[in-house]
Symmetry: C2
Subunit: 386 residues, 2 copies
């Protein structure tokens, strides 16, 4: 029985239709990686590409892009006409709950010559859907998690300019926030003050993780519920958005005073950031070598066991983009890539220090520390006379 598709769906569009530049880059990347096609499930990756992210319940759906530059969409009837509107002139294959998605998917793959071929999958694709396809249809899937990020990895001059603006807003907002931080405030209060300044300075959105005292010893602390006390280490990791591009900065302060060990750990982390930035200044572009330069400092200082994370990550429209800055990402930094350098020492239940700069590789082959205007010196804040 032919079932009526749903003509229009009350969903919010995230963009303005197909991004042809991204699409062309994606097709090129599919070919470069030796794939026959790419499957992209609803996610920001899909939104950046086609300007829309439909609701993604457990029903299988996704955009298939072929190396020949064609594309088609497979989804449930509920989503079919919505996607038809988003992708005019492209084939949308829809399946009905009572039948399941396998036969429709088989037909779609068959019509596009993809039976027996190799398809890369984006990060949002669900394993159980894929396992069902692999069991019943002759097709090979491979992880292509970073392929969608790859098409956004080199920032255009315009994107670089927006990111720089986001970072300058963040830098200025922190300078305005510092004199307002004092013992007695809650972490959440500091967050609100900082986000308020970012918004007032023109950011479209802002967020902040404020980890004080023992909370700073947890790299992923995120509850912002503690009250600040004299002697606290105060680690602030924060971000804002300008024209879609993100900043990402961390600074760690000491409230009213610090002990010997806090100062020692701080200086070690600072030395580590500077070592990575010096390696860049010396012309190093190989990512594992930059990770090594920063990590060696902390290891030689005797705190290697507390540096539990990668050195940094790519940055752009999403808070974590490619390239990861870590020892097993064996690639070179290239013009237009934007990323963070954020070594840290995290001593659970004691304290932790992270210093995070936000950098971009310039078109000329150099690099710019976008957050360089915000001091990385050890700062004691919250004293009455301040």
């Amino acid at each position: 029985m032919k079932r009526q598709r749903q003509k229009k769906h009350a969903c919010v569009r995230t963009g303005v239709g197909m991004n042809q530049i991204y699409f062309d880059r994606l097709v090129k990347e599919i070919e470069r990686q030796g794939l026959d096609a790419m499957l992209i499930a609803p996610s920001p990756d899909l939104g950046f590409l086609i300007g829309h992210v439909p609701l993604f319940c457990l029903r299988f759906q996704g955009l298939f892009v072929t190396r020949e530059g064609d594309c088609f969409y497979v989804c449930n009837l509920l989503t079919a006409d919505e996607m038809r509107e988003v992708l005019p002139n492209k084939k949308v294959y829809s399946w009905f709950d009572g039948d399941g998605f396998i036969e429709t998917t088989r037909q779609a793959l068959s019509e596009h010559g993809l039976i027996g071929k190799t398809i890369g999958v984006s990060s949002a694709v669900r394993a159980f859907n894929l396992l069902e396809i692999m069991e019943k249809i002759d097709v090979r899937f491979v992880s292509a998690r970073e392929l969608c990020a790859e098409i956004r990895i080199r920032k255009t001059p315009e994107e670089a300019s927006h990111m720089n603006r986001a970072v300058q807003i963040a830098v200025e907002a922190m300078e305005r926030t510092i004199p307002q931080i004092r013992a007695g405030l809650y972490e959440k209060d500091v967050q609100d003050i900082l986000v308020g300044h970012m918004r007032a300075l023109g950011a479209e959105a802002g967020s902040a993780m404020v980890a004080s005292g023992p909370n700073s010893g947890f790299a992923h602390y995120n509850s912002n519920t503690r009250q600040l006390q004299k002697g606290d280490t105060v680690l602030i990791d924060y971000a804002c958005v300008y024209r879609g591009m993100l900043s990402d900065i961390t600074r760690t302060f000491f409230l009213e005073e610090h002990g010997e060990r806090q100062k020692e750990v701080y200086e070690l982390v600072k030395k580590s950031v500077l070592a990575a930035e010096q390696a860049l200044a010396d012309g190093e572009r190989w990512i594992p070598a930059i990770d090594r330069a920063a990590r060696r400092v902390i290891e030689e200082g005797g705190y290697g066991t507390y540096f539990t994370t990668r050195l940094g990550h790519g940055l752009g429209y999403m808070p974590h983009e490619s390239p990861d800055i870590k020892q097993n990402n064996e690639r070179y930094l290239e013009p237009g890539m934007a990323f963070t350098i954020e070594p840290g020492i995290y001593m659970p239940d004691e304290f932790g220090v992270r210093i995070e700069d936000c950098l971009i590789m310039t078109p000329e082959g150099g690099f710019s520390i976008l957050s360089g205007g915000l001091s990385k010196d050890c700062r004691v804040i919250g004293r009455a006379e301040a």
Copy 2:
């Protein structure tokens, strides 16, 4: 180098530790389905089982449960000590960003005799993680999407009682809301009134989708932005929570008046719900037959092409649980199963009608229409004299 794990993580616990009843059922189900183990990624499924859902970024993590009744967790260093606290006496294998997760996962699988074995995966597992494991480790994965739902599929008498309470709250809230609905209100206003009544009556949470006029023609409408007008079809699909258990009901009304076609479609949908409930009363327990009983009515009425969804779905702690009520779910309803019956006719840009009841199979082999107290008769509402 041995790296320091993160001792404690500021996360919200969702429960109170391992649910031993669920765990035992899960192990039995793993064996029944011929699997050697099950992999469960962070999700409500994991929360119901172990009482905690850690933050799930793109880094691979998950609980492996073996058919022998053992379990272990694999995660990044950032999450390791958090999970060690949640799973005392269980092995937690942690990996470092700079190394990736494959070697740690291989070691964990090897130590538990799972190399070469078959592992089921829950719905939250990401395909790209699994593809990487499958490429590098000798292990077979199969979709086991419904296995975690299976251990919750038969409601205990206590759960049944909580669900019944949730439904009775919802029924009473709707009766209080109906006299307040009138032309000029926005869909969002109706939502607020209804949710307010449910909260006032003791629900822990409530939600409502209000689709008026042409919006009712979209089965998944969800923006609640339109202003109600005389003659509108007003479709209200709403839910509340009592002690964790959900209700799920839909009723469709007509504002001040209705046309011939609205009435005709309404009566057809009502006849369809009643047909499914009559099939149950006649002793039918095979799910495809119940779907057929309801669907046949709408097909014979000439609107089959507009009944685009499954007939219903399981209900419990989550809005969509097992069993799906659809023609390709070839199983039988059993005591304790709770589910919806919700046929609909959706005519995009015109109007739509859905009537949804919430049912549970009783321990004695019968069934109870929990939402039976809320009339399914055609109701014209919003008239001044009402």
